[in-house]
């Protein structure tokens, strides 16, 4: 069985990913300290936690904007990469769920093979669709509102007040935190626990291929034989 390297994650994508990862982890920790200062003091004093949270929040919000405009306007493949097609939802999604929750345990190969043009399996696409198009924008938006209470006071009152916005921010952050745990775990389901982490660091993924010719959608990435 031959293996080959494919360039799956270009440098800007990797920088964006790790900047986001650092930002979101920082936001989770500092946010937890802001809400429960009696129990958590990882970021130093309360003021440090707030400044760190605000800074990380702005970085992640800018990073999100960059991601959106890059894929939408420069690359032009935002929908192709992140929005699952009807067929993927009706067929691929169930296959992928079946793989992760049954076939994987039997030692079967993943039914999906990532390529630079089609990076995510239907399950990933569905999750990222919710996270990147709903959760992250909303948590960023509510965070920006809380950062600008003075100028946005009237608008905040119209949508229910500070308590409602802060609650939404908190619950969405919890959802994002829950996703983060699952995301990291799923990233360990490659041929080795670090197999999916390496391409996000180096850009190159080692894939096994069984044929002389490329498979229609590129080489397999997560076969675990």
């Amino acid at each position: 069985m031959k293996t080959k390297l494919i360039y799956l994650q270009p440098t800007p994508v990797r920088i964006w990913h790790w900047l986001n990862a650092l930002g979101i982890v920082t936001l989770c920790i500092s946010g937890a300290q802001i809400r429960f200062p009696e129990f958590i003091s990882i970021c130093g004093n309360y003021r440090s936690a707030i400044l760190l949270h605000n800074t990380a929040g702005i970085v992640v919000a800018l990073s999100f904007s960059f991601w959106f405009f890059y894929y939408k306007l420069v690359s032009g493949n935002l929908v192709d990469i992140y929005v699952p097609k009807v067929q993927e939802l009706s067929n691929g999604l169930m296959k992928q769920i079946f793989f992760y929750f049954y076939a994987y345990f039997k030692g079967a190969a993943s039914p999906f093979h990532a390529t630079p043009e089609n990076k995510f399996n239907p399950m990933q696409k569905s999750a990222y669709l919710a996270v990147m198009f709903v959760i992250v924008p909303l948590v960023s938006l509510t965070g920006i509102m809380l950062l600008n209470i003075g100028p946005l006071r009237q608008m905040l009152l119209v949508i229910g007040g500070l308590g409602v916005v802060a609650t939404l921010h908190f619950l969405l952050a919890c959802v994002l935190g829950a996703f983060l745990v699952t995301h990291v775990y799923l990233a360990t389901l490659g041929s080795t626990p670090l197999a999916y982490f390496k391409p996000m660091w180096t850009g190159w993924e080692k894939v096994e291929h069984h044929h002389e010719h490329e498979p229609p959608h590129g080489a397999a990435t997560d076969n675990v034989h």
Partner: protein, 363 residues
């Protein structure tokens, strides 16, 4: 508050004064202990006949009668402090005040004289006008701050605090100066009815005055705008109803953290720089809230609000949120449940993965 002094005063109108004030010479207008409120109104009226008129007495001697008559000092009467008005008055000569503030306000003086503030402003009159001064509970939080900003430049206040205080403007609008800069122990969340339709700023909200609220109340007591069941007690539900009532769309509830009791022991204690003093201990330390309503005479009165709820409730005060303190236990549990949900899949899948690891051995 007041020293137990029995100031025996007897004011007999002298001929010259009587002529100026339009009274009969020899009329006894104040008699008995100075703190007996007996004839103070008549006495004050006689004095104000001239002293309310700027043209008659000139700047520096004019008293605003409307403001003065609502002060506690007015109940004691002018002559409680000015008891040496000579027969020759008014003769153009200044009359020394014979009763010092400290004679009544002994505890305040004790607090104040040991503070650094007393070096810069040694006289009570530097901050307080005895002819307009009201009890701390009768003035609004913004009026309290206005006393400070008479001397302390607001731009400098903002820039000094901005060096260390995040969201400076919000803090300065939600806390009175004396909350942090005096030796106070307890705190109260004072809830004011503020106006949306007049653009203020985070640090300078516009509190609705009596006339405006009276018009809104349309003949009812202004308290009934919030206290709909007339029990002189504000429930969280009543606060919510007030905020969601479409006819109140020009108003909002503005919360300001005020001291439970005012102190003149001016100091900036370490707790003022410790954010978590308020942002963590809030649920325990700030359980008392009160609705502060303007009175017709320009003073304010308080109506009790359901204990503890202002911080714990989600939307009782839409404009108020104190991070770390305003947190709802139910929401915390919901958040924990969501996070636990995120752990279920990795934990369950990981366990199965461990049990079936032999199936994935490389051939």
């Amino acid at each position: 508050m007041y020293a137990d002094t029995q100031l025996l005063k007897k004011a007999v109108i002298a001929a010259t004064v009587a002529a100026a004030c339009g009274l009969t010479p020899g009329t006894v207008i104040a008699e008995g202990p100075g703190f007996a409120f007996g004839n103070s109104a008549a006495q004050n009226a006689a004095c104000l006949k001239c002293h309310a008129d700027l043209q008659k007495v000139g700047d520096g001697h004019q008293i605003n009668g409307a403001d003065y008559q609502h002060t506690t000092h007015a109940q004691f009467g002018c002559r409680t402090c000015h008891d040496n008005v000579p027969d020759s008055h008014p003769d153009g000569k200044n009359i020394a005040r014979t009763t010092a503030c400290v004679e009544c306000h002994t505890d305040v003086a004790e607090q104040y004289t040991v503070s650094k503030h007393s070096l810069e402003a040694p006289d009570c009159g530097s901050c307080h006008n005895p002819h307009t001064a009201q009890k701390s509970g009768q003035v609004s939080a913004l009026e309290m701050n206005a006393i400070c900003t008479n001397c302390h430049n607001q731009i400098k206040i903002a820039s000094t605090h901005a060096q260390w205080l995040p969201q400076t403007d919000l803090h300065l609008g939600a806390i009175t100066c004396v909350t942090c800069h005096t030796k106070t122990e307890g705190f109260v969340l004072s809830i004011y009815i503020a106006r949306k339709d007049i653009k203020g700023s985070a640090s300078r909200p516009v509190i609705a005055d009596y006339n405006y609220l009276s018009e809104k109340a349309a003949g009812k007591e202004i308290q009934e705008l919030v206290d709909t069941n007339h029990d002189t007690y504000i429930s969280l539900e009543e606060l919510r109803r007030f905020s969601s009532n479409a006819s109140n769309k020009d108003l909002y509830l503005k919360a300001i953290l005020t001291p439970a009791t005012t102190s003149h022991a001016f100091q900036t204690s370490d707790k003022s720089y410790n954010c978590t003093f308020c942002h963590a201990s809030g649920p325990n330390a700030t359980q008392i809230s009160k609705l502060v309503l303007p009175e017709k005479n320009g003073s304010y009165r308080h109506v009790a609000i359901e204990g503890g709820g202002t911080l714990g409730s989600l939307n009782a005060i839409p404009d108020f949120y104190m991070m770390g303190s305003t947190r709802n236990t139910l929401l915390n549990k919901l958040g924990a449940l969501i996070l636990a949900g995120g752990l279920v899949m990795p934990a369950g899948h990981g366990f199965m993965r461990f049990l079936t690891r032999k199936n994935r051995k490389k051939e």
